[in-house]
C-alpha cells in the first residue's frame, strides 16, 4: 500500500538535473556577430552536452549551405558557430528536429 504523501520527494532533483545540463537556465542562446563588411557569424550557445555537437554542425552545414565549427569554451561549454546570419534557419531546424523546445530558444541581436 502506497500513500502518495508519504513518498519521499527530493526537492532538489530538478536542480541537480538542470545543473548537469551545463546550462544556467536551460535556454539556448542564438546570437549574431558582425564581422568585416557584410559578413556575420551566428553562434548557438547552451545546447545540451548530451547531444553530439559535431554531428549537429555537420547536419547544419549541409542544410544551410554554410561553414561552421564547434568551439570549446571554458565557461559556456561547447558552442556552435555558423557562418552568416543563420538565426532563422537554426531556430527552425532545432525546433523541427526536436532538439530544443521553442520556448527554450532565445534569439539575440538586431
Amino acid at each position: 500500500m502506497s500513500i502518495q504523501n508519504l513518498n519521499t520527494f527530493d526537492p532538489f532533483a530538478d536542480a541537480i538535473k538542470s545543473s548537469e545540463d551545463d546550462v544556467q537556465d536551460g535556454l539556448v542562446h542564438v546570437r549574431i556577430q558582425q564581422r568585416n563588411g557584410r559578413k556575420t557569424l551566428t553562434t548557438v550557445q547552451g545546447l545540451s552536452s548530451e547531444y553530439d555537437l559535431k554531428k549537429i554542425v555537420r547536419a547544419c552545414k549541409k542544410e544551410f549551405a554554410c561553414n561552421g565549427t564547434v568551439v570549446e569554451h571554458p565557461e559556456y561549454g561547447e558552442v556552435l558557430q555558423l557562418q552568416g546570419d543563420q538565426r532563422e534557419n537554426i531556430c527552425q531546424w532545432l525546433t523541427k528536429s526536436g532538439l530544443v523546445k521553442p520556448e527554450q530558444l532565445k534569439v539575440h541581436g538586431f
Binding site: Q33, T43, Q45, V71, H108, G109
Partner: protein, 306 residues
Amino acid sequence: MDEDMIFDPSLKKKKKKKTGFDIDAALAEQENTSVEAPAETGDVDVPDDDNLDLDTFGKKKKKKKKFFNLEEIENALPETPPAEEPEPQEEDAVDDLVLEIDFSKSKKKKKKKNNVDDLTVEDDIKGEDQENVEDVHGDWIGSDRDYTYDELLERVFDIMREKNPSMVSGKKQKFIMRPPQVVRIGTKKTSFANFTEICKTLHRQPKHLLDFLLAELGTSGSVDGNSQLIIKGRFQQKQIENVLRRYIKEYVTCHTCRSPDTILQKDTRLFFLQCETCGSRCSVASIKSGFQAVTGKRAAIRAKTA
C-alpha cells in the same frame, strides 16, 4: 460623475455671464445645453459622449478664462489668435516627453486652434451627440428586453474607460517615444545620437541600457562627449529599434500590468523591477553578453596577450 456633470454646466454659465461676451447665439445655446445637461445626467450610462462633453466643458472654461483676462487688459478685441497659438505647441513638446498620451489631447488641440467662433459649432456638435445618445439609450430604457452579452460588455468597458481611463489597458497605456536617431559614421561605426534622451524617457541609467545594447548586438561601443553612443559595426535604425523594444519589454514595462511606470533597482547583485502602478516586484534577467566568437584578427589578439 453625476456631481461633476451637474457642476460643470453651472460653472460654465457663470463664466459666460461674467465675460459679457458678445455672442448672443452662444448664450442661447448655453441655455440649450443647460436644459440638455440634466437630461443627460438622468441616464447615467453615457459612455463616449460624456467624455466628449466633459472635454468641451473644460475647454470652454479655459477659453473663457483667457478671454476674460484679455478683456480686462485690453477692453477690446475678444479674439486674439496669436495669444492662443503658443499653447498647443507647448503641448506638443509635452506630448513628446510624456510617455502616455490621452487621445483626448489631439481633440483639444484641434478645437483650440479654431478659436471662439467654433463655440457655436461645438455646441452644435454636442447637440448632435446628445441626440445620438438618446438614440442609443432609447432601446435601453424603454424596453424590457434581455440585453445581449456584447451590449453589456461594451457598456461596462465604456463606463470603465470613462471613469478611469488609465485602468483599461491597451487603450491608454500606449508607450510612445521618439525613434532612435541612428547615423552611420564612416563605414564601420554607427552613432546613436539621442541615446541619453531615450534613457531619460525610459527612466533608466544610461549604463544599463548601454550594457544591454552592446551585449545584444555583440559589439563594443561607448558614449562620446556629445552624449551620443558610438557602436562598432553597421546598424540601421530599424535594428536598433528592435533591440530597444526588447529592452523595454524586459526592463521597463511591468511584467504583470505592463505599465511603464517602474523603477529598476539593484538588490544583492540582482536587478528588480518595481512597478509603481500595481506594486508588483519581480527580478529581471541579468545582462550577459555570453559567448563571443573571435571576429578580429587573431594575430592582433595574440600580439596583445603575449
